[in-house]
């Protein structure tokens, strides 16, 4: 962008024509963004291979993340974090109640499956719409204040939703037991199920749990229908978020973050923009909630608890708030830790350090053990603090710093100075 203005007039036609040609090339994205989308698409679609690098039955097999349940969580929470990033990363409004929208979306989704049809498409649409309406209400009230007051207001709304879902709204939410699909649900658009058949979420007959398994040598790869539906939803969500980041609307949101007063002085009210961002991110959360229900047809109120809202904050900051890919990375990182690192126990550690003398093994296991297994939250907390203190741009900024250090070693200073934290 900046090199365009610094160029002399003679070169300008050539440089300004280049991005235009590229932007026409791929869904209205510039070259760098287009390659990012392609990269993410390839990684997501090949995830069953990439996340399963260790052969079945080997000692490292427990680090394989390529099983459907976890892969679905990666992409679904990726969507959640992408949406949160549109609000926090662009406008700087720190919401501590986003899990409420995910929860409301989940409840709406499961009711659609109970009342209308087991098809996931209507259920996801209902989830997004209901979460959008709810976030419109919450946002309209909460956005009257900013800063810590906004955080507390969103937190208050989320905790109210949680408390109500647990107590008064039990007829709608199932209270402590939550909601599951039942054989006797009305499902007015579907025919009656055959005797003894359990209701399962499907896409025009394709069940979410359906998987194709591929055995290659010692490796077992699982291709799950639900995962691919969620993955496509995430790619669409990711693409939309790039478009929002690059649009004039995204620019306005950034203006809100950098200086609201200046916006007010120029005669622009920031409220419609922040509210739109809030509703969009609420709809992303609703989409994530709807997908969660589609993959695993049950809902409980605990997914609205404020720690769930805190988790999406962690994901976004850890990956890099305000960057495009950061939230997805952060979501994947935290879900990987939650599901894989938390399963490491003392025996596993002893296996790893078996090469060392016995006394050293004991020392190493004693040192490492508090940070893995049940203590994975400790590692997460320390990492999170380290990121906030040293890398405000998250893992993405860390990666860029490493890359620029590497490039500088090659003596290419010009390239290094250009890599800015993606804000």
């Amino acid at each position: 962008m900046t090199d365009q203005t610094s160029n002399t007039g003679a070169v300008r036609p050539a440089t300004s024509a280049a991005p235009k040609a590229k932007s026409a090339g791929f869904l209205g994205l510039t070259g760098k963004d287009a390659s990012l989308v392609v990269l993410v698409a390839v990684l997501t679609l090949l995830a069953p291979f990439i996340l399963n690098p260790f052969p079945e039955g080997s000692a490292m097999a427990q680090f394989n993340a390529g099983y459907p349940d976890l892969m679905q969580r990666f992409v679904i929470f990726g969507i959640f974090a992408i949406g949160f990033n549109i609000l926090f990363g662009l406008t700087g409004y720190l919401s501590f109640g986003h899990a409420a929208f995910l929860g409301v979306g989940s409840y709406a989704g499961i009711w659609s499956m109970k009342l209308l049809t087991l098809n996931v498409i209507p259920s996801i649409i209902v989830s997004v719409a209901v979460a959008g309406l709810f976030s419109l209400l919450v946002g309209w009230i909460s956005l009257r204040r900013s800063g810590i007051y906004f955080s507390i207001l969103t937190l208050a709304f989320a905790m109210m939703s949680f408390a109500l879902a647990y107590s008064v709204l039990t007829p709608i939410t199932g209270g402590e037991t939550g909601l599951q699909l039942k054989y006797f649900d009305p499902r007015i658009l579907d025919g009656a199920l055959a005797q003894g058949e359990t209701p399962r979420a499907n896409l025009f007959g394709l069940e979410m749990g359906a998987s194709y398994e591929m055995q290659v040598g010692a490796w077992l790869f699982t291709f799950n229908a639900g995962y691919y539906i969620a993955a496509i939803a995430m790619l669409v969500a990711f693409y939309l978020s790039i478009r929002i980041f690059r649009s004039p609307f995204g620019m306005m949101l950034r203006a809100v973050k950098s200086n609201q007063n200046r916006l007010n002085y120029t005669g622009i009210s920031p409220k419609p923009y922040t509210l739109a961002a809030f509703v969009i991110s609420g709809m992303y959360a609703g989409l994530a909630g709807g997908l969660l229900v589609a993959m695993d047809t049950q809902v409980g109120a605990e997914r609205m608890f404020w720690t769930a809202s805190g988790e999406v904050v962690l994901m976004t900051i850890l990956g890099g708030a305000g960057t495009l890919i950061g939230p997805v990375l952060g979501a994947g990182f935290i879900k990987y830790m939650e599901n894989i690192v938390s399963t490491i126990n003392k025996t596993t550690l002893e296996g790893w350090f078996a090469f060392a003398p016995d006394w050293l093994t004991d020392v190493l296991v004693t040192i490492v053990y508090p940070f893995v297994g049940k203590g994975w939250h400790l590692t997460l907390g320390i990492l999170f603090m380290a990121v906030v203190i040293f890398l405000p741009g998250g893992l993405v900024q860390g990666g860029q710093k490493l890359a620029s250090m590497f490039r500088r070693k090659k003596g290419d200073d010009a390239a290094a100075s250009q890599s800015q934290p993606g804000e």
Binding site: R144, Y149, L153, L155, M159, L164, V313, G381, F384
Partner: protein
């Protein structure tokens, strides 16, 4: 009438805890301008100070008691706490019985030290950063602190009883002329309320009547001028952070008999105390105390069965409802100062 008094009393003990935590939060915010999400963790650390202290007192070794025999006729092995040997049996038993109040003595220096280390080691670097960063880093710290406690003390609540003298309830109704049995109130909750009142009074007196407090108040009002007068205000603010940590810690120590401490008790209180601070008005010490007691009492009234019959579930959400209404109608909270957190 007696029902109303009972609910006010019920609200007072929870309100005391809210008020103490909110007071500490406001002290930190008012002096250093830092939004401390780790304050609930300090409350929790205080509670675990009490657990640690009572465990230390009960450290014992096994001796063979020749006077007692087990059923096989062998001498019985009994555990004898060291404290019995130091102070004698009756005094030792009394000390163990009074472990919770006595651990206040240990909690004060420990919590001040933790507070000062926290401020010098971490918070200091965040004065110039946005409030969102302060929230995030202290949120991370809270996770780390509670996981450390979980590692050493386990995930289950640890019962820590009050001294025998305060176990049980008394009939408050009979004392003030109502029917016997109409208002029954546990002793320890009354102790907690008076304790909170004393601590709050002490903090206000300290700020109001000592030179140190005067300088701190001056620094809260206009930091720059105080610095220009040649006073090292940073040092005093660090001390105030220590004091705020101690207030939260003491609230935690005394709360252990009411609720057995577990590693996430801090987070449970944190959310509510932030609501309290915001309702009271960021940066206003009287506001924090007032809002703490007020919300405690409001919560108690909302839990009455008569109220729940009309508005089911209201007890779960009333605090948040009040917070939303207050924030929308009185943007600075009940007693907020102008120009605080309004950027």
């Amino acid at each position: 009438m007696d029902a109303i008094i009972l609910q006010i009393l019920n609200g007072l003990d929870k309100g005391s805890a809210y008020a103490l935590i909110a007071l500490g939060l406001t002290l930190i915010f008012g002096t250093l301008g830092v939004v401390n999400f780790a304050h609930g963790a300090l409350f929790m650390l205080g509670a675990f100070c009490a657990v640690t202290f009572s465990r230390l007192l009960q450290l014992s070794h096994t001796v063979i008691d020749e006077t007692q025999k087990d059923f096989l006729g062998n001498p019985l092995k009994v555990d004898v706490p060291y404290i019995y040997e130091i102070l004698g049996e009756s005094a030792g038993a009394a000390v163990i019985d009074w472990a919770v109040p006595l651990s206040l003595l240990m909690a004060i220096p420990v919590m001040i030290a933790i507070g000062v280390i926290m401020e010098r080691g971490l918070i200091k670097h965040f004065y110039k950063r946005p409030h969102a960063d302060q929230i995030l880093v202290t949120f991370g710290l809270a996770i780390v602190l509670q996981e450390i406690i979980k590692y050493f003390y386990g995930a289950n609540p640890i019962p820590t009883p009050a001294p025998d003298a305060f176990i049980g309830s008394f009939d408050f109704g009979a004392m003030i002329g109502f029917d016997a049995g109409s208002i029954v109130y546990p002793y320890w909750r009354l102790v907690y309320f008076f304790f909170a009142a004393v601590i709050i009074a002490a903090v206000f007196a300290f700020l109001q009547f000592t030179t140190f407090g005067m300088v701190v108040r001056a620094g809260m009002a206009d930091r720059e001028t105080v610095t220009l007068l040649g006073i090292d205000i940073d040092k005093r603010f660090t001390m105030m952070f220590g004091i705020a940590a101690a207030v939260a810690g003491l609230a935690g120590v005394m709360y252990t008999p009411i609720n057995s401490p577990n590693y996430h008790m801090g987070m449970d209180f944190l959310v509510l105390s932030f609501v309290v601070v915001v309702v009271g008005g960021m940066g206003s010490l009287p506001g924090a105390v007032l809002a703490g007691f007020l919300l405690g009492i409001v919560e108690a009234f909302a839990s009455m069965t008569q109220v729940l019959e009309i508005l089911p579930g209201i007890n779960q959400i009333v605090i948040y409802l009040v917070a939303i209404v207050v924030l929308l109608t009185r943007p600075r909270g009940l007693m907020g100062r102008k120009g605080v957190m309004e950027d």
